[in-house]
């Protein structure tokens, strides 16, 4: 008998969609929820101001939050399996450090969003290219990739320190600091095409490949004995995962904890099978980051950096999950 929980697929759709609508109607300017829905459906009624506010200001930001949240959570889930380590997230390969350096470097010379985003994206790819180079030279085992990631991450963190040191403390340094905290503030439609394109390709890739990710959680020898081309598939997953993370981080800055905590929450919900874990991580990641970003822009008179908020929520969430884990192991009362 196949056990099936039919309630899961509906919640998977309902959760991000309701977060999406909620985020569009919550904000500094109160808009009735029905008006929000009317605008989304393209019906007449709400004034042009509301229409512009929702479609031009809030919609791109909420879309970005949804993509970034889903991407970080899905890549985090995939990497935890790939590295057979539940404490891994999308930052393990030094991609975020590369992106942070790229963004800071660009911010030295310009404050133009598109240039900063592009530079962050390019240096994220430089970081992964360096890791892959180490991997190709020394056999692409998970250990080699992790060591490569740590080294490359440390290298870019040092370079980032250098940039902060030379940056103008009155104008550039605060901009760099703010970027590093992570935020979706001032996200415009023009910022979105790279993120939407890469998400549109990368997430379906993971959705299609999701059952096979199970096979990567066992040792390389076992997976090979089950007919998996381990190195090839691992390289492809790292490559696609990196693109998703790079596009996300380039736009939103370094947002931690989503990629670590959401997959674990999803595991508690649907179990470790990647066939269900990937969709659940995507839905939970998207919904969570939409809600946190809404909180970031509405909770206080001035905006709270999103990366700070994910940390403030993520740390206790992780602690609770960890206690639960210890309890199931019988190592804590």
């Amino acid at each position: 008998m196949i056990r099936k929980d039919r309630s899961v697929p509906w919640i998977l759709v309902l959760l991000p969609v309701s977060a999406f609508i909620l985020a569009l109607f919550l904000g500094r300017y109160g808009i009735h929820i029905l008006d929000t829905v009317r605008v989304l459906l393209g019906l007449d009624g709400p004034s042009d101001v509301f229409r512009a506010l929702i479609l031009r200001v809030r919609l791109p930001r909420v879309l970005a939050a949804a993509c970034v949240g889903a991407n970080l959570a899905v890549v985090g889930a995939a990497f935890q399996g790939l590295f057979r380590n539940p404490l891994v997230d999308s930052r393990i390969l030094g991609v975020s450090s590369g992106a942070a350096f790229g963004a800071a470097l660009a911010l030295l010379f310009t404050s133009q969003g598109m240039i900063v985003q592009t530079s962050a994206f390019i240096f994220a790819l430089v970081a992964i290219a360096l890791v892959m180079l180490v991997g190709v030279r020394f056999g692409s085992s998970t250990l080699v990739l992790v060591i490569g990631g740590i080294l490359v991450g440390a290298l870019f963190n040092s370079l980032l320190g250098l940039i902060k040191y030379v940056a103008d403390p009155l104008s550039t340094l605060p901009a760099i600091t703010y970027w590093l905290l992570g935020s979706l503030n001032a996200t415009q439609w023009s910022d979105l095409p790279p993120l939407l394109t890469i998400t549109g390709v990368g997430l379906p890739f993971f959705a299609l490949l999701r059952w096979r990710l199970n096979l990567l959680t066992v040792s390389d020898t076992e997976a090979m004995a089950m007919g998996i081309r381990v190195r090839l598939i691992r390289t492809v997953i790292v490559a696609v995962g990196t693109l998703l993370v790079a596009a996300s981080v380039a736009l939103a800055g370094t947002i931690g904890w989503i990629g670590l905590v959401i997959p674990h929450v999803a595991r508690v919900w649907v179990g470790p099978d990647y066939g269900r874990l990937i969709p659940a991580s995507a839905a939970l990641g998207a919904a969570t980051l939409i809600l946190l970003d809404t909180l970031a822009r509405t909770a206080m008179p001035s905006e709270i950096p999103l990366g700070v908020l994910t940390g403030l929520i993520g740390v206790p969430a992780f602690f609770i999950l960890f206690l639960r884990f210890l309890r199931t192991r019988g190592e804590a009362q």
Partner: protein
């Protein structure tokens, strides 16, 4: 299935060949034990014979076909591997674990179908762990895990399973549980290659035994004739005696040189 290994050689570094020339053959329903001291290359031999490592020289054929020319999928549909015990990171159920064995029958983007679940149900029953089907693989005993991994190999469709020290860490009862399932599957025609440090298991459960020493497996044959005090001495550099039980079964004991009468000194 006939699995013929001839003059297999393998080296991790050019200076030292860990396997220099190993020739073995295995027919349907055979259980072959590979004995040998630590570091003689039993695991390496298993990895070469199951197609996971390319040998330096020599060949392995499976029903006449060159194993190393088969696609990884076809190979996995014919040969399975039961690794030494390992602690899995995530709490997959026994069913999900066994289901992974269906991978060589699915496309890259495929997901298991009703038919695959059906096969999994059958192989779980074949090894007698249907009561554990929905239990977490992390929460079952070592012996039950080995049975689940055998089922996973069967789910691949493998006719030949390689087992690397399958009963290390298991108590005698669980050792017997695992080995009697192996024996029972062999009677149905499945072949097994089992590495072990237990000559007694070769005597109890094996059809064939081969001693791996100095990269060769020249001493091989039926356990009854091959496991002798001389061959054991050569393999393990230690003295053994073979004792006979009341039911005609034979067992290997290490020969201990103790003071025969400790009270007199």
């Amino acid at each position: 299935m006939n699995l013929i290994t001839s003059q297999l050689a393998f080296a991790y570094s050019p200076e030292r060949e860990i396997l220099s020339s190993v020739t073995l053959s295995l027919g349907p329903g055979d259980v072959m034990f590979i004995l040998g001291a630590n570091g003689t290359g039993k695991t390496t031999l298993v990895e070469c014979m199951s197609g996971l490592r390319l040998p330096l020289r020599g060949s392995v054929t499976i029903d006449g076909q060159n194993l190393y020319q088969l696609s990884v999928r076809t190979r996995a549909q014919n040969i399975g591997l039961v690794p030494q015990m390992h602690e899995p990171v995530f709490a997959f159920t026994v069913e999900q674990t066994v289901l992974m064995g269906r991978a060589p029958h699915l496309g890259l983007f495929g997901r298991p179908s009703r038919q695959d679940h059906h096969v999994v149900g059958e192989v779980i029953e074949a090894v007698g762990i249907q009561h554990l089907r929905h239990r977490a693989y992390t929460k079952i005993s070592g012996g039950e895990r080995q049975l689940a991994l055998i089922a996973r190999g069967l789910a691949q469709g493998a006719q030949c399973l390689f087992m690397d020290e399958p009963v290390a860490h298991l108590d005698p009862h669980h050792q017997h549980d695992v080995m009697s399932v192996v024996r029972q599957l062999a009677d149905e025609g499945f072949s097994f290659v089992v590495t072990s440090h237990l000559p007694n298991h070769a005597l109890l459960y094996g059809d064939w035994v081969a001693f791996l020493t100095d990269g060769r497996a020249d001493v091989q044959g039926t356990p009854g004739t091959t496991i002798t005090e001389q061959t054991l001495k050569v393999a393990y550099d230690m003295d053994f005696e073979i004792v006979e039980g009341s039911t005609g079964s034979r067992a290997v004991l290490p020969r201990l040189y103790r003071n025969p009468n400790p009270m007199t000194w």
